[in-house]
Structure formats: structure tokens, C-alpha cells
């Protein structure tokens, strides 16, 4: 069996352009790998092999005509897409029974940019229903397994995408990150996950969970691929009013630049009692590595960190309670019967939504209710501003901030499933960046004694993905973590 599926984007591009391999061979290799391991990993909800092979043929024709120089960057590259991004003609379920049969007649901006660039869609990956969760256990269909240990969760909500990249079931993937949903599963699966600045990537076609926090990001095998993928999906989109019309640099340009003299903020609030010792150890070692590369660690304070989880769960659930109102059985998706309109509404939503969705809709509905709005929603918005200011203040003195991505490595399937609060705390280090809107990446920085990956998070200023990529690339190149593969 060929091992083309283990390639990174940049490696595959080189081989495709050099005509050493064809897009068809690459796609075939990926699907062979899927055949071999998907039964164990369960990363996908929908596989699109037939159309993928057609897409690969099309790509190969263009590569053949264009030759080495002109080919767009994603011609023939097999990618997986989280199943909450609309793909025209391909089911988009959000891992929810309520959208089990939904086939969008339109394409999300992010995937349409990749499509224009000639990518090959491998399939749609599993997630926690509507991206609400940190383990994929909230998927309405099945739980994805961590390729490093199949008894453990891959993280979430983009657990399917992270596991698929980790298990080489695709070359790279797209995820979405509302409170850590790209970075946390990337950390738990030992791959690279980037959440761009809010407004950097269009949200058009991304099924909304919490609109003011959602952002699409790449999940890749290394930092270079993250930059390459961001290059294509980033940029202003007239169809998304919240996407920001700022110039998009070539993010690969900064890779390889040295980080001498770069000021590295270490927020004291992120190294706390109760944190997993092995995670703490890996992260501290990583900081030492960065120091050896010439970066200067500086202790900073993000004083409102302790309010982040509470703030997030008020704002995100409030927005979700409204965003999910459209699933009412009237226009598309599941419609359960009923004796009248109200009965139809209630049984459709009772049958269609899982327990976590209902919990969050109730939380959000409560927080927005008259009499509670001021105390919850409004207060949370005010705290959000304070959290944003924390970062602005810290970035007065440092160029980048470094933290662990997740307080623990991957936990066992079922371990936290019955304790939502414990589950919520798994995003404790990633939530603040969504509230502040700043970019952040997770890269592998070691393994626990049980052989589970640990993630290191780099956080940058608004629209300064370049510093994030530069620093994380320097760290990645100085270490060998990415070379370790799970023994599936």
C-alpha cells in the first residue's frame, strides 16, 4: 500500500507539481487509508469517495496543462471538512439528527475558495452536535476515537477533523473554533490547529453555534500547512459583514524567520493548581526550548481569566438559543408529527436535538429573558470587554503569549460525559481567545507517560497570525514531536 496519505500539503504539492505522483494516486491512497482505519477511528459522518475521485481527475487535468509553475495551491489535495460547513450537494448534518437529511444548495465561502483552488473533498467529519462539546461524545451519530488510544476521546468539537488528520485519513482538514474547538482536539490528537482572528475567515456557510465567537480554522500535520491553508481561506467576504476587509499577507513568508528577541508572555493565571503535572512539565520544557531559540519569556497577567468560562457559557448559549431556533420542522431537516403547530415544534426539537443542545438552549434562553438579561447577558458582555482589554494590555509588553492548550491530555470515552461542568473546564485555556477575538495556534509539545500528545498554545494580537505562525514554526522545527505517529 502506498503511503502518500502521510504527506503534508507542502510535500504533496511538490510531488504533484513535479508530476512524481498524480492527484488520482494521492486520493486513492487516502481512501485506502480510510478503508483501513476508519472503522476504528470513526472520524467521518459522510465520505465522498466518488466525487473525490472525479475532483482528483479534474485537478490532474489542470496540473497536466499548467505544469509546474502555474498550478493553484490546492489542486488535487485531499482535505476533510467539519460537517458544520455547508457543501453544495453534500449532506451537512452538524452531527445532529435534526439535520440528518439536510443537503445544502449552496457552498460555504471557505470551502468554495478551496473548491476554486482545486481541492479534493474526502468527506465531512464528525463533531459534537452543532459544535457544542469538547469530545465528540455529543455527536448525534457516534463518538470519534483518539488515534493515539482508541479508548479515549479525540477532543472536540472538531474531533473528527483532528482525528482524521492525525490518522492520515486526509492530508489536512478544516475545523471551526468557538471556544477551543480547533485547538483542543488538535492538542489531544497531536496535530496543529489554528484559530484565526475573528473576522479573518468568512463565516458564510458555517452553521452558526455562537456567531460572535465562531471562526473556521485549519487542522494540519504541521505549521507550514496551517499557513498554506490559511492563505486560501482568509480574506474579506462581502457575504459576511463580520469578516474584516484587511489585507491578507502570504502567511508562509514568515516561516523560518528567527525569533531572537521575541518577547514571550507567560500569563501567570494559566499555570495553576490542579493542572495536570505532565502537561505542565511539557509546556515548561517548551518554553525553555523557545528561550534557547532566543525568545525572551516575560511573566504577564491576564487578570480576568477566571471569569472566561462563565462569560463564555452565558454569551455562547445566548447566541445559540437564537441561532438554533430555525430548526423548527417547518422548512427543512427533521419534522416530527404533531397534533398542532406547538406539538409539532416541541416533538421535532425534542427528537432532533441531543441533551447538550437542549441544555445550552435552555441556559441561553434563560440568560436572555426579561429580568435576567442585565444580570447575565449584559454583564457577560461587559466582562468580555475586560478580557479583551487584558490581552491588549499584555500585548503592550510582549509579542506573543504562550500557554498550554488544554489542562489535560485526552480523557477516556465516557469519563466526563455525565459531568458537563468538568467537560466545560476542558476549554479553560482556549475560551479567552474567542472572547477576545485574537488568533491562537496549538502545536504538539510532548507526550504524557501514557503516550498521549500535549499541546502548546501561541496567542497573537488581532490580525497578527504571522507572529503566531512564525513562533510556532520555530518551535516545531526545533523539536521532533510531529514525527511521532500513532500506531493504529
Amino acid at each position: 500500500m502506498s503511503s502518500l496519505h502521510t504527506l503534508t500539503i507542502s510535500e504533496a504539492q511538490k510531488l504533484l507539481r513535479g508530476k512524481e505522483i498524480t492527484a488520482g494516486e494521492l486520493a486513492e491512497s487516502v481512501f485506502q487509508r480510510v478503508n483501513a482505519v476508519e472503522e476504528k477511528v470513526k472520524a467521518f459522518i459522510t465520505l465522498t469517495k466518488e466525487t473525490a475521485l472525479l475532483m482528483a481527475d479534474e485537478a490532474q487535468k489542470i496540473i497536466h496543462v499548467q505544469g509546474e509553475s502555474g498550478a493553484p495551491s490546492f489542486l488535487g489535495i485531499p482535505l476533510a471538512v467539519k460537517d458544520n460547513m455547508c457543501t453544495k450537494g453534500v449532506p451537512t448534518t452538524c452531527a445532529s439528527k435534526i439535520l440528518r437529511n439536510f443537503v445544502p444548495p449552496y457552498e460555504s465561502t471557505a470551502t468554495s475558495r478551496l473548491k476554486k483552488d482545486g481541492y479534493v473533498l474526502v468527506g465531512k467529519t464528525n463533531l459534537d452536535e452543532f459544535a457544542m462539546g469538547s469530545s465528540t461524545e455529543n455527536s448525534g451519530f457516534h463518538t470519534t476515537r483518539n488515534p493515539w488510544d482508541l479508548t479515549r476521546i479525540p477532543g472536540g468539537s472538531s474531533g473528527g477533523s483532528a482525528a482524521a488528520v492525525c490518522a492520515d485519513e486526509c492530508i489536512a482538514a478544516l475545523g471551526s473554533d468557538t471556544g477551543g474547538s480547533v485547538r483542543q482536539p488538535a492538542a489531544l490528537c497531536g496535530v496543529v490547529g489554528l484559530k484565526p482572528t475573528y473576522g479573518r475567515v468568512s463565516r458564510y456557510g458555517l452553521v452558526a453555534y455562537a456567531s460572535s465567537l465562531d471562526q473556521i480554522g485549519p487542522i494540519t500535520k504541521d505549521v507550514r500547512d496551517s499557513a498554506i491553508l490559511l492563505n486560501v481561506i482568509a480574506g474579506h467576504d462581502p457575504a459576511d459583514s463580520t469578516s474584516v476587509p484587511v489585507p491578507v499577507p502570504d502567511f508562509t513568508k514568515v516561516l523560518g524567520r528567527d525569533i531572537k528577541g521575541m518577547k514571550l508572555g507567560i500569563p501567570k493565571e494559566y499555570f495553576i493548581e490542579g493542572m495536570d503535572k505532565e502537561v505542565e512539565h511539557s509546556v515548561k520544557k517548551a518554553i525553555a526550548t523557545l528561550e534557547s531559540l532566543g525568545a525572551i519569556p516575560v511573566e504577564v497577567s491576564l487578570p480576568h481569566t477566571g471569569y472566561a468560562v462563565a462569560t463564555y457559557y452565558v454569551l455562547a448559549t445566548s447566541e445559540a438559543s437564537s441561532n438554533l431556533a430555525r430548526y423548527d420542522g417547518v422548512k427543512y431537516g427533521l419534522r416530527a408529527g404533531g397534533k398542532d403547530l406547538m406539538d409539532m415544534y416541541m416533538s421535532t426539537r425534542a427528537q432532533g436535538f441531543g441533551a447538550e443542545i437542549k441544555r445550552r438552549i435552555m441556559l441561553g434562553t434563560y440568560a436572555l429573558s426579561s429580568g435576567y438579561y442585565e444580570a447575565y447577558y449584559k454583564k457577560a458582555r461587559q466582562v468580555r470587554t475586560l478580557i479583551k482589554k487584558d490581552f491588549e494590555n499584555a500585548f503592550q509588553t510582549v509579542d506573543i503569549i504562550v500557554t498550554p492548550t488544554s489542562p489535560t491530555a485526552a480523557f477516556k470515552v465516557g469519563e466526563k460525559a455525565s459531568d458537563p461542568l468538568q467537560m466545560y473546564l476542558s476549554d479553560i485555556f482556549t475560551i479567552s481567545m474567542n472572547l477576545a477575538g485574537v488568533p491562537a495556534i496549538s502545536v504538539p509539545c510532548g507526550f504524557t507517560s501514557e503516550g498521549l500528545p500535549v499541546g502548546l498554545q501561541f496567542i497573537g494580537k488581532h490580525f497578527d497570525e504571522e507572529s503566531v505562525l512564525k513562533a510556532s514554526y520555530a518551535y516545531e522545527q526545533a523539536t521532533d514531536w510531529r514525527k511521532r505517529r500513532p500506531a493504529l
Binding site: C86, Y106, A208, A210, A239, S241, R326, K331, Y377
Partner: protein, 478 residues
């Protein structure tokens, strides 16, 4: 006890934009169900709204026309409720920070000017329409989303009106302004202008407002007055019996002419408004506001003043001339083409309005153009046709749109000014009416009118009346 009525109106006006407020679908009325809808206005997963700048411009225009302050910083909010015609489960509207605030307009009632405050104007999207099949025996309903996403303005007045008549005047004035601005067609029957009223009573002289009742579904001017009259009487009866008014929402039933309770305060929706995260707040540029201000058309009040001062027509005539922008434009065009202002307004308010009313047509739909009237007035002034013949010519222009001259020629309606021909007709009439001639000669001078009439009749109205009069008098005195 004597009670004072307090009324405030919430007017919903559909904006005359080509496309919907948050997507590119057409806003045309009357298309096949669901042919003017896309993934955005249907509320499919993952879609996002983008504000139609024309809608913002129309709201600003309206705000400026009714003396509002335009908010430099304004934003949309979500109003959450479930209903099949509301595809997203929320309506994108404005709550805090509406686009326009603190305006007013003046109404005139019995010659007195009264200022009605306008609290705010905000933008929002219209909902679709449920079509129930239960009437035809089915136990299901359809949803038509063509209207979903059509831009609306909600114009909220202060509780400044004290009678149904004032409310009607306010509605008429507001509608006229919207039509002058071209931002809304003002068609209440088709629902492009809708009105909810808040009504309360308080003992005369007291400052605090009484308990208010909201009345919905008032969709014609006639109903504004009827619904308010009914509701005031209903509340008066309750108070007279020593009862208390319950805060509630009532629905106007235009078939039975009553208002009926729809929901009480306890059942009132909690709309859970919160800022719309999919749309960034709007910062409205001052220079843009200035541009819109300077492009505003002349509004009814100003135009009336000018018609009185520049054209010298009486105030009552001016009121009629400005009552619709199309009428004012028609009037002014005719005057500019050389018509005497008073003649023009007389013909408009008399014959033209009568003919249009008979057919239920508007000035825009009318074949009769101002040039036609001016052409006809020239023929009257140069003696080609008499005022009486003119009525016939006028109707003919109205029906065919032809020039007055052509009609006069084709129908042989030219006035007879040939003395010989008139003299013959006069002689014939004198010969045919010996009794009347004798009585006239005996001093019954008013009979001259009868004799002139007879001559006009035999000449089919074409004889020049002053000439007939003069000839008759001369012959009978001889």
C-alpha cells in the same frame, strides 16, 4: 367623570427598495409563492445577512423628513419568537440604538396646528405569510416566504394624539410624506402600510397615563377611525361601570367591527432582544446624511406654502393639490406649461378628480396629461370653445388622451362666432316662442336666460353665449 383619550401609533411601512433588506431577492408584490426567496431569506443553516444600503438610506431619508436626529451609531437586534412565517425563529430588527429618534410632524385639524412627536424609526425585516387551508377543508397550512426579508420601517409616535380624528390625520400626513419621499407606496389594503394603535383613557386633567391597550390589524384609514372609536367606547363603558382596563393586545375585526382580546399581559411575548452578532454596528457618515438631506424632495407642507404664495391659489385648493405627490406634480406641470393656476386647480378638483374617483384610478394611471388641460384652456380663452363644450372635450381627453384641438376638430365642436349663423338661430327661437317673447317685452327680464338656453340648445352649445345674449337683447328691444 370626563375622560381624555390618549393614542400613540406604531406604523409599519414597507420600503420601496428593489431587493430585500438582507439578501438580493426581489421585493415585488404578487409573485407565485416562494419564487422570490433564497437560502438567506429562507433562513437555511449557515447563511448570513448583509444590509441593503438602500434600506438604510430610505430610513435616514424618512427620519430627516420628519425632523428626527439620525443616530451616528446604530445597530440591529434579534427579536426571538417562533412562528412558521418567521424562518429564522427571530426577526432582525432594532431595539436599543434605532437609526432615527426624536422627530415630529405637524397635523392640522379644524384649522389648528398640532405637533405629534415621533419617538423613533427603526428598520426591520418583514415576515412571510401563512396560508391556511382549513377554510377550504384542509387541515394544513402553507408558508409563502416571498415577503420574508422585505425591508420595513417601524415609525413609533409619542402618545400625543387625543382623538381618532387626530390619529387619522397623522396617518394621512405620514403616508403622504412617505409617498413624496418615494420610500413606501402607502398601500394599506395590500399591507405595505400597516398600523398598530396604543389606546388609553385618563381622567381629564390628570398627567399619568391610563392602562394601555394595543390594537393590531388596522389596515385602512377607515378602520383607524372605526377601531379607535370602538375601543374608546369599550374602555369608557368599563370605566363607567367602575371597572378597570386590563393591559392587553386586541385584534381589530373589520367584519364584525369590534376589537377582540388576543393576549393579555401575562401571555405577552418575551422577545429576548439582544444585539445581532451577524451584523456589525452601523456608523452613519455625516457627509452622507448631508447628501441625503440635500437630495430630499420638497415635502407637502413646503409645497403648499409655495402653491399659495407663488401661484395665488386659495389654501383649500392648495391642500387638495398637495394631498398626493402625483396630484401636486400634475398641477405644477400644467401651471408651468402656461395654465392659469386657479383654472388648473378648478379643473383638477372638479372634473378630473370626479372622473378618477368614478374609476378608482390615480393620477399616475391617468391618460389625461397636464399638457392636455393646458391645450384645452387655450381653446377656451381664445373663444374656440365655450366653457360648456369644454366639459365634453375634457371627458373626451380623459378617455382618449387626445389633444383638445383634435377632439374639437373631429367632433365639430368649434364655437360659432359667425354673426349670421347665430342671428338665424336667434330669429328662429324668437319666432318659435312668441309667448315668452311677449312676457319678456312686458318686463319679465329673467326670461332672457331661457331664450339664450334655447339658442344654445339648437346650436348644440356651439354658439358663443355672450354673442347670443347681446343679439337677443338687441332684437327684442327693437
Amino acid at each position: 367623570m370626563k375622560y381624555e383619550t390618549v393614542i400613540g401609533l406604531e406604523v409599519h411601512a414597507q420600503m420601496l427598495t428593489e431587493t430585500k433588506i438582507f439578501c438580493g431577492c426581489s421585493t415585488k408584490f404578487g409573485a407565485e409563492p416562494n419564487t422570490q426567496s433564497c437560502q438567506i431569506c429562507i433562513g437555511m443553516p449557515g447563511v448570513l445577512p448583509v444590509l441593503n444600503k438602500k434600506a438604510l438610506e430610505f430610513a435616514v431619508k424618512t427620519g430627516l423628513a420628519v425632523n428626527c436626529a439620525i443616530s451616528r451609531y446604530s445597530r440591529f437586534a434579534r427579536k426571538n419568537y417562533f412562528y412558521p412565517d418567521l424562518p429564522k425563529g427571530y426577526q432582525i430588527s432594532q431595539f436599543e440604538l434605532p437609526i432615527c429618534e426624536h422627530g415630529h410632524l405637524d397635523i392640522v385639524l379644524d384649522g389648528a396646528v398640532k405637533r405629534i412627536g415621533i419617538t423613533r424609526i427603526h428598520m426591520e425585516e418583514d415576515a412571510g405569510k401563512n396560508i391556511h387551508e382549513s377554510a377550504s377543508g384542509g387541515n394544513y397550512s402553507f408558508v409563502d416566504l416571498n415577503r420574508a426579508g422585505v425591508p420595513l420601517m417601524e415609525i413609533v409616535s409619542e402618545p400625543d394624539m387625543r382623538s381618532p380624528q387626530e390619529a387619522v390625520e397623522y396617518m394621512k400626513k405620514l403616508r403622504n410624506i412617505l409617498r413624496y419621499l418615494g420610500v413606501c407606496d402607502g398601500n394599506m389594503e395590500q399591507g405595505s402600510l400597516r398600523c398598530d394603535a396604543n389606546v388609553s383613557l385618563r381622567p381629564a386633567g390628570r398627567k399619568e397615563l391610563g392602562t394601555k391597550v394595543e390594537i393590531k390589524n388596522i389596515n385602512s384609514f377607515k378602520f383607524v377611525e372605526k377601531a379607535l372609536d370602538y375601543e374608546i367606547l369599550r374602555q369608557l363603558k368599563i370605566l363607567a361601570d367602575g371597572g378597570r382596563i386590563i393591559q392587553e393586545t386586541r385584534l381589530w375585526d373589520s367584519v364584525r367591527n369590534v376589537t377582540e382580546s388576543m393576549r393579555g399581559k401575562e401571555e405577552a411575548h418575551d422577545y429576548r432582544y439582544f444585539p445581532e452578532p451577524d451584523l456589525v454596528p452601523m456608523t452613519v457618515d455625516q457627509t452622507w446624511i448631508h447628501d441625503i438631506q440635500s437630495s430630499l424632495p420638497e415635502l407637502p407642507d413646503k409645497r403648499k406654502e409655495r402653491f399659495v404664495s407663488a401661484f395665488g391659489i386659495p389654501e383649500q385648493d392648495a391642500d387638495l393639490m398637495i394631498s398626493e405627490k402625483s396630484v401636486a406634480d400634475w398641477f405644477e406641470e400644467a401651471v408651468n406649461l402656461g395654465g392659469q393656476p386657479k383654472d388648473v386647480s378648478n379643473w383638477i378638483k372638479g372634473d378630473l378628480m370626479k372622473l378618477l374617483n368614478e374609476e378608482g384610478k390615480t393620477f399616475d394611471e391617468c391618460l389625461f396629461r397636464p399638457s392636455g388641460l393646458v391645450g384645452m384652456l387655450k381653446l377656451i380663452n381664445n373663444g374656440t370653445i365655450s366653457g360648456k363644450i369644454a366639459k365634453t372635450v375634457f371627458e373626451e381627453i380623459y378617455r382618449t388622451g387626445k389633444d383638445a384641438e383634435v377632439i374639437v376638430r373631429e367632433k365639430g365642436l368649434v364655437q360659432i362666432t359667425d354673426t349670421g349663423a347665430i342671428e338665424k338661430a336667434v330669429d328662429d327661437i324668437i319666432a318659435a316662442n312668441p309667448q315668452e317673447v311677449d312676457r319678456y317685452k312686458a318686463g319679465e327680464e329673467k326670461l332672457i336666460g331661457f331664450l339664450v338656453g334655447q339658442v344654445m340648445k339648437t346650436t348644440k352649445g356651439k354658439a358663443n353665449p355672450p354673442m347670443v345674449n347681446e343679439l337677443l337683447k338687441r332684437k327684442l328691444s327693437g
